[in-house]
């Protein structure tokens, strides 16, 4: 069997040309069978992306750093084959949806046809193949659109169609869903699973393990440039959980492990991977569960009373093109951590830009305490409201992390020693002290994002608005940001987080406001909001896995914390 392996890598070592001393792949050996679906997991900086790049020849040909070892990919010897040669066997989808487009095509159809034109395939065959591939990934109806007008999820599917048109055997996807909303991510995962069913060999690297682990037949855990665990998904995730490896363990696995630890399920039974499997294990244990004692699961900290109140009074916003992004929205935010949920286009980001006056309401008014945003410049409102945008690369420009974090605080005109203290404090809170003299743009996306958040934290404003704070973070990064939000709210600051991350909202929000079509759909505590899956689904918000497992298992009024849920089900077991 191993003789006809599609990919065979033997003790590969690699370092990037800019940092030849920092070895990112360390003695990596790997064989991949045709038709397999392999998932790569591990903390950021573990070498997952580099391994993906190796499969496509970007390492060591585009990144021409020191390389040792051998690799054969579908019969091509990596040391002699060019990236172009390998493209016939390996189709690669990158993390950033729009950056991987050629940028030279004005329609989706032309973009997907680009590679085939370069390879000199006859025009009629190109047209046929492109139409077929666009249909396969479900964007056939968008063929005449401009690629820039696509959503992130549509864009990733276009990227997939462009490589499928070259008829590769292997699909390598490096974090294809990290920059997408849940709906877009789900569409991409579905297409990937379908490709695997059709016989493609799939290699997928993603932090969103829960969504694709049920489809994979093998997981590789990478740490410090090495593969440290390799096996079927259930075994690897169980191993990672028991060893407390720095990866996000899906909730079904976590609950399954706890049931085994408490002896409710035999230890030899493989752990559940999906919500359904976990519910199946839980439901026989429920018995005659009495309804929950009232309010036992309310969040412990509802946040100290804030010093500043933000009021949106029946605001509407109409963009130049005529799009009505906000429509009579009314909300008062005064304390704690408020998470804004809702699908893309529901008005979350438009609302965020109203909170510091970047956008002014077309109708109604936004008041920051008594300040009407229409009457003040953004630079003045920044004294009250700090806003960190989703894309850190829109703001980082200083030569060191330290200067970058100080930028906002200096703009507000704080005295020098206060700026120094604020910066120092923000660096500590976001675990950036060791990186303070580094160039921000040399850091990983996860670290760049923390720098952007730190620069807003250092402004020491009573209100902070964070747009997708947890995106692109690994498990330790998520935990760090969660702690930060808890601390800030305990200090009496008002934190408003726009997020797709329902796990984050479940753990740290004191209040959740769900938006749909420019107005408030739901408003309440996490347990109130997540208890209404039907209403949530209209704006494509899926409740957290715990809530879904409990609902599927038929537990009435379930608490949102895993420990409390298990405590209710198995009250007698220690």
């Amino acid at each position: 069997m191993t003789n006809d392996a599609l990919v065979r890598i033997d003790s590969a070592f690699f370092a990037y040309p800019s940092e030849p001393d920092q070895i990112v792949l360390r003695d990596v050996s790997l064989t991949l069978e045709e038709g397999s679906f392999t998932g790569l997991i591990g903390p950021s900086g573990a070498g997952k992306t580099t391994l993906c790049r190796l499969l496509a020849g970007f390492v060591p040909h585009h990144f021409d750093g020191p390389f040792a070892g051998t690799a054969a990919i579908d019969g091509h010897d990596l040391s002699t084959a060019t990236i172009g040669d390998l493209a016939a066997s390996v189709g690669y989808v990158f993390e950033s949806p729009h950056d991987q487009l050629t940028g030279a095509n004005t329609t989706v159809f032309d973009e997907a046809a680009y590679a085939l034109e370069n390879l000199g395939i006859p025009a009629e065959e190109i047209r046929g193949r492109v139409r077929e591939c666009l249909e396969t990934v479900g964007i056939g109806h968008l063929a005449d659109r401009h690629p820039q007008a696509l959503s992130g999820g549509q864009c990733q599917r276009l990227a997939l169609a462009s490589v499928l048109a070259m008829r590769p055997k292997i699909l390598v996807l490096d974090e294809p869903t990290s920059q997408l909303d849940p709906l877009g991510a789900e569409e991409v995962v579905q297409v990937i699973a379908r490709m695997h069913d059709r016989g493609f060999t799939v290699v997928l690297c993603s932090q969103d393990i829960a969504s694709y682990a049920p489809h994979a037949d093998r997981l590789l855990l990478m740490e410090e440039g090495r593969i440290t665990a390799d096996g079927d998904p259930r075994s690897v995730l169980r191993h990672a959980a028991e060893r407390e490896a720095p990866v996000a363990i899906p909730e079904p696995v976590r609950i399954g492990l706890e049931l085994r630890r408490r002896g409710a399920v035999a230890d030899t039974v493989p752990v559940p991977l999906s919500v359904v499997e976990a519910a199946v294990e839980l439901s026989p244990l429920i018995g005659d569960l009495t309804p929950a004692p009232a309010k036992e699961d309310e969040p412990v900290a509802s946040g100290a009373a804030g010093t500043v109140t933000v009021r949106a009074e029946r605001i509407a916003h109409v963009y130049d093109g005529g799009v009505r992004a906000l429509d009579g929205l009314e909300v008062t935010l005064d304390r704690g951590c408020v998470c804004l949920l809702g699908q893309n286009g529901s008005g979350k980001s438009t609302l965020a830009k109203h909170l510091n006056g970047l956008l002014k309401p077309t109708e109604g008014q936004v008041l920051i305490d008594d300040l009407d945003t229409r009457a003040h410049r953004v630079a003045q409102l920044a004294q009250q409201v700090g806003l960190a945008f989703q894309n850190p690369d829109d703001q980082l420009f200083k030569r060191t992390v330290e200067e970058e974090v100080a930028f906002g605080a200096k703009n507000l005109g704080h005295p020098a020693d206060r700026v120094r203290r604020l910066v120092d404090d923000a660096l500590t809170r976001l675990d950036l002290q060791q990186l303070r003299h580094r160039n921000p743009s040399e850091l990983s996306l996860a670290a760049r994002k923390r720098v952007a958040v730190a620069s807003v934290v250092a402004m020491d404003t009573p209100v902070l608005v964070l747009d997708e704070p947890t995106g692109a973070q690994d498990a330790p990064g998520n935990a760090l940001l969660g702690r930060l939000v808890d601390e800030l709210t305990a200090e009496g600051k008002l934190v408003i987080a726009i997020t797709h991350d329902v796990e984050f909202a479940r753990l740290h929000a004191t209040r959740i406001v769900v938006l749909a079509q420019g107005t408030v759909l739901l408003d309440g505590t996490p347990s109130e909001v997540f208890a209404q899956p039907g209403t949530l689904s209209t704006t494509f918000v899926l409740p957290p896995a715990v809530a879904r497992i409990a609902a599927a298992a038929g537990i009435p009024q379930p608490p949102l914390a895993t420990e409390q849920l298990l405590g209710r089900v198995l009250p007698t077991v220690p």
Binding site: R53, A56, F58, H62, T82, I83, G84, A87, V90, G91, Y92, F94, H98, D99, Q100, T102, G103, A104, N105, T106, D110, A113, A115, E117, N118, L119, G120, I121, P122, A123, I126, R127, V163, M166, K353, N356, L358, R377, V378, A379, A382, G386, L387, A388, F389, N391, D393, D394, Q395, L396, F397, K398, F407, G408, N411, L412, S441, S455, V456, M459
Partner: protein, 252 residues
């Protein structure tokens, strides 16, 4: 300011390379013509072609907005300071406009009008993709063609991103309406993220391009390629001969 407008007039139906060679040939030829009347005859012929193609309305405004400032500057600089000025056509107090300078200015203005009209006609009736496909089929490097198309697309793209950067920095208290010194600093804080972000994106794009046969040798297919028939071949040759004739007359 001016871009492709769909249509099916006789100019739309010609091959992009044909239109390009006529635009280039006429533009070069008028710079070899010594007399203003010759140049303005060419302008008149081009204008007639424009009208015949039903495109005149679209061209008047863009042509005018560029020609007018040139015209004013030429009238002043050439009319007042041309060293050949001997005959005065108009005196306004201490300044006198010389006939020779004005005539020279009219000549230059005619040349500019030719360049503007011919190239606008090309751009109005040809998509950039048709142009680069046509050029690639005639031997121009397809990589050069890629760079042209990508540059045309990136300019609006980067302008959009510069708005996002502006919002980001303002959210951190950047004031874009302060003193000159503050505004220079603001320029750096806006351009910095724009450049770094674009360069990081270009690294991903380079890999994606390479994996899509960007460096492939051998024949390429161009879906946008138009027919290059006898009429086009004749027209390109005529354009070339026209220029050579003008050059010959100039040298003799």
């Amino acid at each position: 300011m001016i871009g492709y407008a769909p249509g099916d007039g006789f100019l739309h139906r010609r091959n992009a390379v044909t239109k390009l060679s006529w635009a280039a040939s006429l533009s070069a030829t008028v710079f070899l013509m010594p007399e203003a009347w010759m140049v303005w005859t060419v302008v008149a012929l081009v204008a007639l072609t424009t009208a015949a193609g039903g495109l005149a309305r679209r061209l008047i405004r863009p042509t005018w907005t560029i020609l007018l400032p040139f015209g004013i500057s030429l009238a002043v600089l050439q009319g007042l300071f041309n060293p050949d000025n001997t005959t005065t056509v108009l005196s306004l107090g201490p300044v006198a406009f010389g006939l020779e300078g004005i005539v020279h200015g009219v000549l230059i203005l005619g040349r500019l009008a030719t360049v503007l009209l011919t190239f606008f006609l090309l751009l109005l009736t040809t998509t950039p993709k048709q142009l680069t496909a046509g050029l690639a089929a005639r031997g121009v490097s397809p990589r050069f063609g890629y760079a042209i198309l990508a540059a045309i697309e990136f300019v609006p793209d980067m302008q959009r991103r510069s708005q996002a950067v502006l919002a980001s920095q303002q959210a951190r208290g950047l004031d874009v309406k302060g003193s000159l010194g503050q505004r220079v600093k603001a320029f750096a804080s806006l351009l910095g993220p724009l450049i770094t972000g674009a360069l990081i994106a270009s690294d991903t794009r380079a890999m994606a391009l390479e994996a899509r046969g960007f460096s492939a040798r051998g024949e390429r297919t161009h879906l946008a390629l138009e027919r290059y028939g006898t009429v086009d071949r004749t027209a390109v040759w005529t354009a070339g001969l026209l220029f050579l004739a003008a050059l010959g007359l100039k040298v003799l």
